[in-house]
Symmetry: C2
Subunit: 250 residues, 2 copies
DNA sequence: ACCTGAACACCGTTCAAGT
DNA sequence: ACCTGAACACCGTTCAAGT
């Protein structure tokens, strides 16, 4: 029998109902791509083929609406930022609580789309929703009492830790299941059977180390970071600024 | 003229001197792969084709020594861990200084190989050198005065922040140059021209935000993290440490 | 204007064939 | 035992052709 180079329509998953002409738009493509991303394994699982199947359309039809995969991906990130902002209460009176909530919300929403987040954490979309998220973080740090220069420096460090954690845990979630389970097993098996003479610390603690990509790990790191920022804010200018109200102006 | 599907020997970069039979070993492949990784852009730049060229050998010859690209990559990570350990002085008297040095050294060495680190940060190699690095970190936290359970929890958080930062900055370094420069420009242009009415915080601070992937950013985050860990350790077990550190300024 | 189909230049991986 | 060459099942992307 002939072996087709590409799987035929019969072999692949049944395509959605075929769309009539002109029905395809960026909005539809974004939604379909998010659906595929939530389901598929890694960024390379988000395929024009899979996306075409999801939309009931030829894979290359997408190129009419997005220049390339990178432009599509950046648009998806903006959509994720929108979702982050949509679920976020307005800033309250406690800058640290606001900062913490924003980070937790971002982490949680991004990790719903590991295939994208794995690759998106590194990028800057430079568009509206991203601007708003950054503005929120900077605002928290100004309210903490830092001057503009310090707020800028801590913005970058805080944001990097957040995005780095997203990249890490999303990357883990995006692994092929067999790979992921193998790596998990390393911690529940290999690390727990090391010789105590050569690895005294691990012999005592290995069984107590939390699992890779457990969301509690991010919370631990986040709280440490906020404690340290708070401590530094206290040492610096905070007390002369404390009474001046939420509009830190400039 | 015929357009060959694959670039011919004449079209590609001149292969290194052809090796005689049996000269190929894992050690040689690892070195060549590290060389390619330091030069190439992303993980997909580390190609069997490029590696074959570097070695003066047919691309598929590598399969005789490594099961697949994943096994090769994990071996590369072990080699990087070896390099980390080789440049690390033995533990001293100050757990925080030791922890800081280990993190800085890891970050620095991994970032020499962005193509690999981008993908490696997520993984567990479960082999000798990785065990040793983990043992060192756990040891620092035990010396800080934490009990085993706390040491285990803080190990994971600390290690995640380190690896997340590596993933983030390596991912950025591994971007195609045009993409990387475009993203940098976002911060030096787009973020600096936002309307002050809608983005008061950014209007004041955008010009002061450090560049993406500036290594100083990691140092800032690292010092914050260690300060917080030290503070928590002080509350629990050991307090005799408070004044000793050489003023962890940023 | 919008979508399809075929083609192109790649990938990683397998396998029979050479030495 | 070790390497080569050809093939396979994918990728993203381009482009002429259809409607």
């Amino acid at each position: 029998m002939p072996s087709p180079r590409r799987h035929t329509a019969a072999a692949g998953p049944a395509p959605r109902r075929r769309r009539s002409r002109g029905e395809l738009e960026r909005r539809l493509i974004v939604d379909a791509a998010l659906a595929v991303s939530a389901r598929e394994e890694g960024y390379e699982g988000l395929t024009f083929q899979a996306l075409g199947d999801e939309l009931g359309v030829h894979p290359t039809a997408i190129y009419r609406h997005f220049r390339d995969k990178d432009e599509l991906m950046l648009t998806l990130v903006e959509a994720i930022h929108a979702e982050v902002l949509a679920g976020l209460p307005p800033p309250g009176t406690d800058w640290a609580a606001d900062l913490r909530l924003l980070a937790l919300r971002s982490y949680e929403v991004f990790l719903r789309f590991p295939a994208i987040s794995q690759v998106a954490a590194v990028r800057t979309t430079r568009s509206e929703n991203e601007f708003q998220v950054v503005e929120r973080i900077v605002g928290c740090l100004q309210r903490a009492g830092f001057d503009d220069a310090d707020a800028a420096v801590y913005y970058r460090a805080f944001s990097d830790v957040l995005l780095g954690y997203v990249a890490l845990d999303a990357g883990f979630a995006a692994l092929r299941p067999a790979t992921r389970e193998g790596d998990l097993r390393a911690w529940s098996v290999n690390y727990r059977s090391l010789p105590a003479e050569r690895f005294p610390g691990l012999a005592a603690t290995a069984a107590l180390i939390p699992a890779v990509a457990d969301p509690a790990n991010f919370t631990t790191a986040l709280d440490l970071l906020i404690e340290a920022i708070r401590a530094r804010a206290g040492k610096g200018g905070e007390r002369c600024e404390a009474g001046t109200g939420p509009a830190a102006g400039r």
